[in-house]
């Protein structure tokens, strides 16, 4: 009796277990594949509560259907114009056909190693057909980075989607630079360029300064010459005024003017070095020669 009860309980527990394996919750993040005795029979994409046959018959395998990132190590490439560059690329991908994925790749690790091969060859081919100026350019039209990355994405997709059941959403160049070996020559060029720019700035400074100085000298010359002109005009006015006043005054008696002006000039040019020879019959001395006489009124 007791033994029978134990058997019944065991059977119930087993039944509950089997029933519980017949139902499973499929999360929004996942896709499921149902395997019947190891053979894939169904792919379930929509989330919710799902039914399958109990455990030994059917088992489920879950895959993440969200975007995954694969970031291979940075690799050296050669551009079309033979520049050694190193590019760090990442890939966004997701599983779109879990059955194909399961058959061809099984795990994410295997998928990533396959992705690495594909991206290496695609990037090598794509970068190799573009010049460095397609990646870096300060021209008006800009770089072709977006185009190059879109090209790599579509190239990868073409190879991968039908074969492995995964979709490449995006291939992006994270970093891009010259290789370590090339950097010294790049630095030398940068150094020379900076020196040139510094020289240019200084020369421009000197040029502007010289312009300012010349302008100042021009202004100064103009100011001085204008002042000279004005001063000459003023002097001329003075001279003219003076001449007018003299003329007005002396016109009253030109003869007398001549007389006193002459007297004054005598005062000026006769000095101690002068010798004057007087004739004794000169008006000054005629008295001396003739002696006193009454009628001496010339």
């Amino acid at each position: 009796m007791k033994k029978k009860a134990i058997w019944i309980i065991a059977a119930i527990i087993l039944l509950i277990y089997f029933i519980s394996t017949m139902f499973f919750c499929l999360d929004e993040r996942n896709i499921a594949i149902i395997l019947r005795f190891g053979k894939p029979v169904r792919t379930i994409i929509k989330s919710g509560i799902k039914f399958k046959l109990p455990i030994p018959i059917e088992i489920k395998i879950l895959f993440d259907k969200r975007i995954m990132i694969y970031d291979p190590t940075a690799t050296e490439y050669l551009t079309q114009d033979k520049q050694n560059i190193v590019a760090d690329i990442y890939i966004c991908w997701r599983i779109v056909d879990p059955l194909l994925f399961l058959q061809a790749l099984r795990t994410t690790e295997i998928a990533e190693s396959r992705l690495e091969d594909i991206i290496r060859s695609t990037a090598g081919a794509t970068i190799g057909t573009h010049n460095l100026s397609a990646f870096v350019s300060d021209e008006e039209e800009g770089t072709q980075l977006d185009t190059i990355m879109a090209l790599m994405t579509s190239k990868c997709n073409k190879q991968i989607r039908a074969q492995y059941g995964i979709e490449i959403i995006d291939v992006k160049i994270k970093r891009f630079n010259f290789t370590e070996d090339n950097l010294p020559s790049v630095y030398a060029r940068m150094w020379a360029e900076r020196e040139r720019i510094a020289r240019k700035y200084r020369a421009e400074g000197h040029k502007s300064a010289a312009g300012i100085t010349a302008e100042a000298e021009k202004r100064a010359t103009i100011i001085l010459s204008e002042a000279y002109r004005e001063s000459e005009i003023l002097k001329g006015q003075g001279d003219a005024q003076s001449m007018k006043i003299y003329a007005q005054a002396y016109r009253k008696d030109p003869d007398f003017y001549k007389f006193i002006r002459t007297l004054e000039s005598y005062k000026k040019f006769i000095d101690s070095k002068t010798t004057i020879i007087f004739r004794s019959d000169s008006p000054l001395l005629e008295l001396l020669e003739q002696g006193p006489s009454v009628e001496s009124n010339k």
């Binding site: 919710g48 975007i67 770089t143 980075l145 630079n177 005009i233 003023l234 005024q241 003076s242 007005q248």
Partner: protein, 311 residues
């Protein structure tokens, strides 16, 4: 006894059932957003802050995300003293210069559903996208622009490009801002870059000096010009005053002279002779003397300048 066993087990079952039911009560905090999945299927999203109820495990599952919280990541590479910065860390600008950039990026979760279900690791994706954005933004800029006036532009463009990439992936991440911490040339060439800045300030200094000298030159010229004008005015006034003085004197003398012209004339003449006579050598020659002797002195006969003119 049996009855009481049964009672106790009923009470226990009811208690456990009520606790199970009550475990469906949950609180969405103030800065959070909740979403509800029934058997893994999303049935409700954007559950606002507050107290809510859901069917307890295993029926429904609640996920809460801090949507209004600002998170921060560092992008670019911050070299420390020990690091020798590998080439791949640095960036290339449009004019093929190598520079280094470090920035912080602040973001928050815009849509919890997208954040949870679109990408396996949204934050890693954000970091990668922003790195790609930096490379893209710098690749079409000149190094001078990026290092000087373009800094704000660099920040805005990195933010814009990163946001576009993230929206493309549908990650539900909102980038709030990008702050440049450092944007600098590699230390191998930093001295040359510094010299360019020095050269700019040198140039400015030359110009400022020239302006200073210009002001001095012009002020100097104006001072000289003023002097010139003043002295000319002085000259004019001097001339006029002297003339007025002389003519006044003349007119006064003339007025007096007119009263007795002949006498005054004589007197003035004699006064002059008296004034000049003491200092000079005088030779008096008789009128009967040979005038040839006089010619030796180069004076023509009868041209004695001292002889007053008769009227």
């Amino acid at each position: 006894m049996i009855i009481s066993y049964r009672k106790i087990s009923i009470v226990i079952i009811i208690t456990i059932f009520s606790i199970w039911l009550l475990s469906g009560i949950y609180v969405v905090e103030n800065n959070e957003e909740g979403l509800n999945q029934r058997f893994g299927k999303l049935i409700q999203e954007r559950i606002p802050p507050g107290i809510h109820y859901h069917l307890p495990c295993p029926f429904e599952q609640i996920t809460k995300l801090p949507v209004r919280k600002t998170e921060r990541i560092t992008i670019g590479f911050k070299p420390t003293k020990i690091d020798t910065v590998p080439a791949i860390i640095k960036r290339l600008t449009g004019d093929v210069n190598v520079i280094n950039l470090v920035a912080t990026l602040q973001y928050s979760i815009k849509g919890a559903t997208n954040y949870l279900f679109s990408a396996k690791d949204p934050v890693a994706l954000l970091k990668f996208s922003s790195e790609a954005a930096i490379t893209k933004v710098l690749s079409s800029m000149s190094v001078d622009y990026a290092l000087t006036i373009g800094k704000v532009d660099v920040q805005n463009k990195i933010r814009g490009v990163t946001q576009k990439i993230m929206d493309n992936y549908g990650t539900g991440i909102q980038i709030l801002n990008v702050n440049l911490h450092e944007i600098s040339p590699p230390k191998e060439v930093s001295a040359a870059f510094r010299d360019v800045i020095n050269a700019q300030s040198d140039a400015q200094r030359f110009i400022n000096q020239a302006y200073g000298e210009k002001n001095a030159t012009i002020l100097n010229a104006e001072a000289q010009a003023n002097g010139l004008k003043k002295s000319a005015e002085g000259y004019r006034q001097d001339k006029i005053n002297r003339t007025l003085g002389e003519t006044d004197r003349f007119l006064n003398v003339l007025a007096k002279y007119k009263t007795a012209p002949e006498i005054n004339r004589k007197r003035m003449y004699l006064e002059l002779i008296e004034a000049i006579a003491p200092g000079i050598k005088k030779i008096i020659v008789s009128s009967k003397l040979d005038t040839n002797l006089i010619k030796i002195y180069g004076i023509e006969e009868g041209s004695n300048p001292l002889q007053p003119k008769s009227e």
